[in-house]
């Protein structure tokens, strides 16, 4: 019997199914934006009817990495910046898994920047949530890749001399096929966007603005958000790369001027996922690799039969 037959039991799933009985109360600071990510993710999984046992949540290091402790699915709390390669490999060997990676802005745009670029480029079918609070939290308030220029902290006494990373623009130019930004102050939109991101076939990047009340009291994430899809002020086609790029540019600039814009920025539905690309090239089997180990019918080849070119 295939070990994975049990996936998709069809039973109704609620947010509570994702709430661990032990440690249901997170240890994040009061007022932390991370609570919103947790709630939105649980809500999205419940909306989608995903069984916790078919979900693999991979997190990095930092406050965001604690997400795994409060989200009761299969979890992998990995090392700093390395969530994406771990998650995408799990997906490549078992495409029946729902793989979600999550990490902070330092984790994803700093130490993990290379993996972010390449995972987006390859368009793996997975979701990546970046908790963007513009600061390192768990190590006590150092400036991060998204801290505004001039941001002062214990490691940037005279103010950051670098321009901040523009994460959505980076994701777009790297090749992500779904890019959105939402905010902790906007729970309804956050949940909707996560549902769309998880459902999307391809690499879905969600830049999730989360306030840090302890280390980044000045953060712009506190101000009321504007939903670019709801507002009459903005009119662009999310399927048009050029228009999306312009809108992202405006949004990423506006954030540092105190104006929080959120919404879907780029959605490319017809691009092949990496799995599909590889399958089209006969570089990947049609059925999950892991299934082979539980397939009683499978004949395992011996190297003996592959040695003729060496005789």
């Amino acid at each position: 019997m295939n070990q994975f037959d049990a996936i998709d039991s069809g039973e109704e799933v609620t947010s509570d199914d994702y709430t661990p009985e032990i440690e249901p109360q997170p240890t994040w600071c009061p007022g932390c934006g991370d609570y919103s990510v947790l709630k939105a993710l649980k809500g999205a999984m419940s909306d989608l009817g995903r069984d916790p046992e078919e979900v693999l949540l991979v997190t990095g290091i930092g406050c965001s990495g604690k997400l795994n402790s409060y989200f009761d699915s299969y979890g992998f709390h990995a090392i700093h910046g390395r969530t994406l390669p771990l998650g995408r490999a799990a997906k490549m060997v078992n495409e029946d898994l729902e793989v979600v990676a999550a990490g902070g802005d330092g984790d994803g745009y700093g130490i993990g920047g290379n993996h972010f670029t390449h995972t987006a480029r390859e368009n793996h079918d997975m979701t990546y949530i970046v908790f963007n609070n513009e600061v390192f939290g768990l190590t006590k308030g150092q400036s991060s890749p998204t801290s505004p220029k001039g941001h002062t902290s214990k490691t940037q006494l005279k103010g950051v001399a670098k321009d901040p990373v523009r994460p959505m623009s980076l994701a777009l130019s790297a090749g992500a096929s779904f890019i959105a930004r939402t905010a902790a102050t906007n729970p309804k939109q956050a949940q909707e966007i996560l549902v769309e991101a998880i459902e999307h076939d391809g690499f879905a990047h969600v830049d999730f603005l989360t306030q840090c009340p302890t280390w980044n009291k000045d953060g712009a994430q506190y101000v009321p958000y504007i939903d670019v899809q709801e507002s009459d002020e903005y009119d662009f086609d999310v399927t048009d790369r050029r228009e999306a790029a312009e809108m992202m540019h405006e949004t990423e600039q506006a954030l540092y001027d105190g104006k929080v814009l959120t919404g879907r920025y780029y959605v490319e539905e017809d691009r092949r996922t990496y799995q599909e690309e590889k399958q089209a090239r006969d570089e990947m089997p049609e059925s999950p690799v892991v299934g082979q180990y539980f397939d009683d019918e499978k004949e395992w080849e011996r190297s003996y039969e592959r040695l003729d070119r060496h005789t």
């Binding site: 992998f76 390395r82 395992w300 190297s303 003996y304």
Partner: protein
């Protein structure tokens, strides 16, 4: 010069087809019935530079490159020209003819290309030849190549000339060429081959007495390097996921697996860096595939943190470390055994891992299979440590050696039904890391399985994986992980030892070596024994956990033991001293770290100096440490 063995060296510049020509010739010798062994020497560059491949062939099994060589096929220059651009890459002064003469044995043959070398280039070669009893065969290989095809077929002409001078029939060579190519290229090469053969026979009365012996293998043979051994071992264990980043010499395994694994329904990924490669192998393994990753020195350094993560999360992980001369980027295409200390403890914290250092093709296959079995049964990293020399060492093996059953077993994985009965915490999470079980290893569950959810984390954790800093739990979890190595040690003790002793078991003088130098040390012992010395040797290939009892037994009663290894600081000797206490009076080192592996004569020389009871140093490129006579 002996009649019963050939050591043929083909030398030229990178891009001259040295590698492919030598591979074909080696295979032809194998099909002709001989035992073969190749040694590859190449520079870290694309075009030009001095390259050679040595092929040793004998009626008897061959375990090392031998001493020097006895036939030189010098192909033109050690530099390459781009005629269209008029550009020259490399050093024009370096001619393979002269570059190689230092190591050519007395009585040896020299075949060189008069089409490329002018008379003035050859200089005083005749004088040198007379002094050393060398036999010169100047042949215009380029002209023969040009007549039927292109300049580059000079290598085929050289093979034809070699066959003529050594009395070897052309059939096996022609057969191999026909299998490897077709059409006009094949016709041209066949014409060049037979023309060079006939021309050589007509032109020269052979003055040398070396002839290729005739032998027959009892059964069909295959020609493989240790990289093939590792790759086929992985495949037979059901490895269906490989991730890597190119780096010499690890690339050998990576490219072999890339070619094979997709046909078998697996996935092979070249990724953005080694950190991604190791994290992907962890991800694939965690999700339930058998995965392999690897690299060489620098790339393996980048994997450090992942190794610790695999240990902490108890994720099975099989890794290959193909050593090259370090530190840092060192000498990318040269061999060394200087990553032992590093690989034993890569990553922070107390480590629980298994490390093998296979000594030849056979062991590389067997120990890779064992690495998978242990990694998946005991949920820890298992590393196969080998080196550049073994990647270039092609040897023949009976094809039937590989007629072994595949083992796709994932190790200790619970079924969904079993999971339901295993302990869960009050919230229903599977206690994957419980510390009160009967064994140190709890069955794994795979994402997607019913009743198996748990958290894998690099932080210290409770039995269900939740992060914990509780001191009592910490001690229990640490003890359980670290003691897994002892469980592995016991499991390995049940198996036949891969560590082999040769020579006179009562000898009070011993050699110790590890990994790739096994074959050469064994040959040195054989020859020393024939010369009347009482000596024994132990080749260790299980580096962690070390078979300490066996080594202690071997060393009991030994008055002097020379530890032979290719590095500058005596890393294996250091490991032995750490494991056994001091042993300062007994152990000394014979080291080589110029980028080339040992030759048997170098070991024999060192033993003779040691046994003479007088002081002295080696004359070769090796180092005795402490120097002979200095027992301080």
């Amino acid at each position: 010069m002996t009649q019963d063995e050939l050591i043929w060296r083909i030398a030229g510049g990178s891009g001259d087809g040295i590698d492919s020509t030598s591979q074909n010739f080696t295979k032809a010798l194998m099909r002709y019935g001989l035992h073969v062994y190749t040694h590859r020497h190449y520079p870290s560059r694309i075009r030009g530079g001095h390259t050679y491949v040595e092929v040793r062939a004998s009626e008897e099994p061959v375990t090392s490159r031998g001493d020097g060589f006895n036939v030189l096929l010098a192909l033109g220059d050690s530099f390459a020209r781009n005629p269209s651009a008029g550009a020259v890459y490399g050093d024009e002064k370096t001619k393979p003819l002269f570059e190689n003469l230092d190591e050519l044995n007395e009585g040896g043959l020299i075949i060189y290309d008069t089409g490329v070398l002018e008379d003035e280039d050859v200089g005083d070669l005749e004088t040198q030849a007379t002094e050393n009893d060398w036999h010169l065969y100047p042949i215009d290989l380029r002209a023969i190549a040009r007549e039927h095809g292109r300049d580059v077929m000079r290598n085929t002409a050289g093979v034809g000339a070699t066959a003529a001078l050594l009395d070897m029939p052309l059939d096996p060579i022609q057969e191999l060429m026909s299998e490897a190519m077709g059409g006009d290229i094949l016709d041209a090469n066949l014409a060049v081959l037979s023309d060079a053969y006939e021309h050589t026979n007509a032109e020269f009365e052979a003055t040398h007495d070396l002839r290729i012996p005739k032998h027959d293998h009892d059964e069909e043979q295959v020609l493989l390097s240790a990289s093939h051994g590792i790759s086929y071992g992985a495949i037979d264990e059901g490895c269906r996921f490989v991730s890597g980043y190119p780096m010499t010499p690890w690339t050998d395994v990576f490219t072999i697996l890339k070619r094979e694994i997709e046909d078998l329904g697996g996935v092979a990924e070249q990724v953005e860096d080694e950190i991604a490669a190791s994290m992907m192998a962890i991800g694939a393994s965690h999700a339930g595939a058998k995965a392999l990753t690897g690299s060489s020195g620098g790339g393996f350094s980048l994997m450090s943190e992942s190794i610790g993560l695999a240990e902490m999360t108890e994720t099975p992980l099989v890794m290959v470390e193909a050593q090259r001369a370090g530190p840092s980027t060192g000498m990318p295409t040269k061999t060394e055994q200087s990553d032992l200390e590093f690989v034993l403890s890569t990553s922070q914290g107390d480590s629980s891992r298994v490390v093998f250092a296979p000594g030849n093709v056979k062991e590389s296959y067997e120990q890779t299979r064992l690495a998978f079995e242990l990694a998946y049964e005991y949920q820890l990293p298992a590393i196969v440590l080998y080196d550049d020399m073994l990647t270039g060492e092609f040897r023949n093996l009976p094809r039937s050696f590989f007629d072994r059953e595949p083992n796709p077993d994932l190790g200790s994985i619970a079924t969904e039904a079993e999971l339901a009965d295993l302990p869960h915490d009050v919230g229903g999470r599977y206690e994957r890391f419980r510390t009160d079980g009967d064994t140190d290893v709890n069955p794994r569950s795979l994402p997607g399985m019913r009743n198996g959810r748990f958290l894998a984390t690099g932080n210290e954790h409770w039995p269900d994986g939740q992060i914990a800093e509780d001191t009592a739990n910490r001690i229990k979890q640490m003890n359980r992980r670290v003691s897994k190595v002892e469980v592995v040690r016991d499991a390995l003790a049940e198996q036949a030892s891969p560590d082999t002793v040769v020579g006179d078991e009562d000898a009070d003088f011993a050699l110790l070596t590890w990994g790739s130098q096994k074959g050469v040390v064994e040959e040195a012992v054989r020859r020393l024994t024939e010369a009347g010395h009482s000596i024994k040797a132990l080749s260790v290939s299980q580096m962690a956990p070390l078979r300490t009892e066996e080594i202690a037994d071997f060393l009991a009663g030994v008055e002097e033991a020379l530890v032979v290894e290719m590095n500058a600081t005596g890393q294996f000797k250091g490991l032995l001293q750490k494991e056994f206490g001091d042993y300062g009076d007994v152990l000394s080192s014979l080291l080589k770290y110029n980028g080339d592996p040992f030759e048997p004569a170098e070991i024999i020389e060192a033993v003779e100096i040691k046994q003479s009871g007088e002081g002295g140093d080696t004359s070769s490129e090796t180092t005795l440490y402490p120097p002979a006579g200095d027992r301080s």
